[in-house]
Symmetry: C2
C-alpha cells in the first residue's frame, strides 16, 4: 500500500495530485475526466452480467497516477496529435495502462487473500477465486484490445513488455518468499519488474501517442518514470515497517508476515545478526511482526532505505532538464509527490 495507491489516500497525497491537476489546467482535467468515463465504459460494456466485478474494481478508482503520467508525458512531447483520433489515442493509452494496473490489483488481492481494496470488498471476497481470476484476465485482455485500436505495435510492445514484467515480478516475489538471504540487487530487480516497468510504460506510451513523440524521447522519459516507480516501491516497503498503521491503513510488518523480504529487512540483516537469524516463516503473528519492525527500525535500516529511494528520485529529476519539452515541471511534481508521503 502506498502514497499514490488507492485506498490509503492521506490528505497529503490527494493534495499533491490535486496540485498537479490544478497546474495542468483545464485540458488535463478534461482529459482525465474523459479517461475516467472511458474506463467505466470499457469495464461495463463487456456485456457480461459479471462485468460488474470489473466495473466495481475499476470504478472504485484511485488517484489514477498512471493515466496522469501518460498524459503528462504526452504533453512533454507536443500533446495529443491533431484531430479527434489523436485525442482518442491518448485517452486509450491512459486507459489501457490503468486496466493493466487494475488487473494486477485484482490478482494481487487474490494472492494476498486481501478482503478490502479502496475501502470496498475485493472481487475475490465478494465473488470468489474463479471470478477474481477471470475478472483480472478480462481486464488484461481489454487493456490490449483497447490499445490495439491505436494501430501502433510499438505501443503494444511497451504495454505487453510491462505486463510481462509485472507477472515475472510476482513470480520472483513468490520464489523469494521467506528467503533467509536476498541480495539487494535481486530485491531491486523484483521492484523493477513488479512496479517500475508499468511506470516506465506510462511515459513511453504518452510519448508514443504524442504529436512530437520520438523513440529517443520515449526512452528518456521511460527511464525517468522507471526510476520514479522504483523509488515508489522502495518507499512503500519502508512504510510497511515504519507505519504508522493509521496512515497506511494496515498493520506494520504486513509484508514481512507474508514472507516478502524487502529492503529494510535486507539492510537490517546486514547490520544486526539477531535479525539475520529470524525466520519469517516462524513469525507467530502481527505482534511478532511489529516487534521485528521495531528491531529493523533500531538498526537505522529505514533511513538507509529512504536515502536510497531519495537518491533514485533525485537521479530521475536530474534527467528532466536535459530533455526538450514543456511539462517537465509537472512530471517533477509527480516525483516530489512520491517522496512527500514518506519523508
Amino acid at each position: 500500500m502506498s502514497a499514490l495507491y488507492p485506498g490509503t489516500n492521506s490528505p497529503a497525497d490527494v493534495e499533491a495530485v490535486e496540485e498537479i491537476m490544478r497546474r495542468g489546467g483545464r485540458d488535463l482535467r478534461e482529459r482525465m475526466a474523459r479517461a475516467e468515463a472511458y474506463l467505466e465504459r470499457v469495464a461495463a460494456e463487456s456485456g457480461m452480467p459479471l462485468a460488474s466485478h470489473a466495473t466495481a474494481t475499476v470504478v472504485a478508482g484511485g488517484k489514477r497516477l498512471r493515466p496522469l503520467l501518460v498524459m503528462l508525458a504526452a504533453e512533454s512531447a507536443g500533446g495529443a496529435r491533431e484531430g479527434a483520433d489523436g485525442e482518442q489515442s491518448l485517452i486509450r493509452a491512459a486507459v489501457a495502462v490503468e486496466l493493466v494496473h487494475s488487473a494486477t490489483l485484482v490478482h494481487d488481492d487474490l494472492i494476498d487473500g486481501a478482503e478490502l481494496r479502496r475501502g470496498r470488498p475485493t472481487v475475490a471476497a465478494v465473488a470468489g477465486r474463479g471470478a477474481a481470476i477471470a475478472t483480472g484476465d478480462l481486464l488484461f485482455s481489454r487493456a490490449f484490445a483497447e490499445l490495439a485500436r491505436n494501430e501502433d505495435s510499438e505501443q503494444l510492445r511497451a504495454l505487453s513488455d510491462a505486463s510481462s514484467a509485472l507477472a515475472a515480478g510476482e513470480l520472483l516475489q513468490r520464489e523469494d518468499a521467506y528467503a533467509s538471504e536476498i541480495a539487494v540487487e535481486r530485491y531491486l530487480e523484483r521492484c523493477r519488474l513488479k512496479t517500475a516497468a508499468l511506470f516506465e510504460a506510462t511515459c513511453r506510451l504518452g510519448v508514443l501517442v504524442a504529436a512530437d513523440g520520438t523513440g529517443a524521447l520515449a526512452g528518456a522519459l521511460g527511464a525517468f518514470a522507471q526510476r520514479i516507480g522504483l523509488a515508489f516501491q522502495l518507499l512503500d516497503d519502508v512504510l510497511d515497517v515504519s507505519g504508522p498503521a493509521e496512515r497506511t491503513g494496515k498493520a506494520r510488518g504486513t509484508d514481512l508476515l507474508d514472507g516478502t523480504v524487502t529492503l529494510p529487512l535486507i539492510l537490517a540483516r546486514q547490520r544486526d545478526e539477531r535479525i539475520a537469524s529470524i525466520d519469517l516463516a516462524r513469525l507467530a503473528g502481527p505482534l511478532e511482526a511489529e516487534a521485528l519492525c521495531d528491531a529493523i527500525a533500531a538498526t537505522g535500516a529505514l533511513e538507509q532505505a529512504r536515502a536510497q529511494a531519495l537518491a533514485i528520485v533525485a537521479e530521475a529529476k536530474a534527467m528532466l532538464p536535459g530533455l526538450f519539452a514543456q511539462r517537465y515541471d509537472l512530471l517533477g511534481l509527480v516525483a516530489d509527490a512520491v517522496v512527500e508521503r514518506y519523508c
Copy 2:
C-alpha cells in the same frame, strides 16, 4: 477435457491429427516443429527462475490443435508471405494463440483445483496459487508481446477480442454455476465465449498473416472455426456425462459436480421433471454425480446434444467449398477429427 485437448489423447485423436500432419506434407510438419521450438523458447526466455513453471506448462504440450488451425488457415490464403519475416509472422501467430490457450489452462486448473494436467502436476499443485496466477498472467502477456512483433493491429485485435471472450466466458460460467434454470441460448453463448472465440481467432490470424489474406476471408474462415469450436465444446460436455472414464481420464459427471450446467443437463431437465428438481449444489459426491449422468442419458438428451453438435459441424463444413482456396480438405479433416472422438 476432450478429444483434441491435451492429457486425454485417445489413439483415435492422435491418429486424426497425425493424418492431417501427414497430408499437410513436409512444410506443415516443419512449421509445426518450429512453432513448438519457439513456444519452448518464449516460455523459457523470460529469464526468471520461475519461468520454469511457464515452461513446464507450455512444453508438456498437447496436440497443438490451435497452432495447426492457424497454419491450415494460412495455407488456405496463399501460405506465408515471401521471405523469412513472412514465415516468422505465421509462426508467431500460431505461438501467440497457444500461449493464450496455455494461460487459460493454468488459470482454469487453479479455479477447478485440478492436480494434474497433461499427466503432470499443475502449476497450482506444484507451486501454489500465487505462482499459478502469475504464470498465467505471464503467458497472456507474452502472447501479446509476441504477436505485437507482427506489427499488425488487426491481428492484435483478433487475439485480444478472443482473450476477452475467454475471460468473459469464465465469468459467465461462474455466474451460472449451480443454477437451476439455464436457457440453451445462454449455454451456447457461454460456449462461444469460452471456447469458440479462440478457435475463431486461430483462423482469422492464419488468414491475416497469409500472402493472400483478406478481411473477407478472415471473417469467413473465422466463422468456420467458430462453429468447430462450438461443436467441440458441446461434444466435450456430452463426454462428461457419457464417459467412459477410461477414455476421458476423469470420472463421469465431473462438470456437474463442479456446478457447471451443460447442454445434456439442460435438455434432460426439459424431458424429465425429476432431473429438473435436482439441485447440483446438493450432489453428495462422485457416485451421485454418476447416477445423475445415467438419468440424463436415459432421457435421450445425449443424442439430442450430439445431433446439435453434428449439425453445427456440418454447417461449418458446408461453408468451406464456397471459399476460394487450397487447404480446405485439411480444415475439413479438423472438423471431422472433432466429431470422430465423440460419436
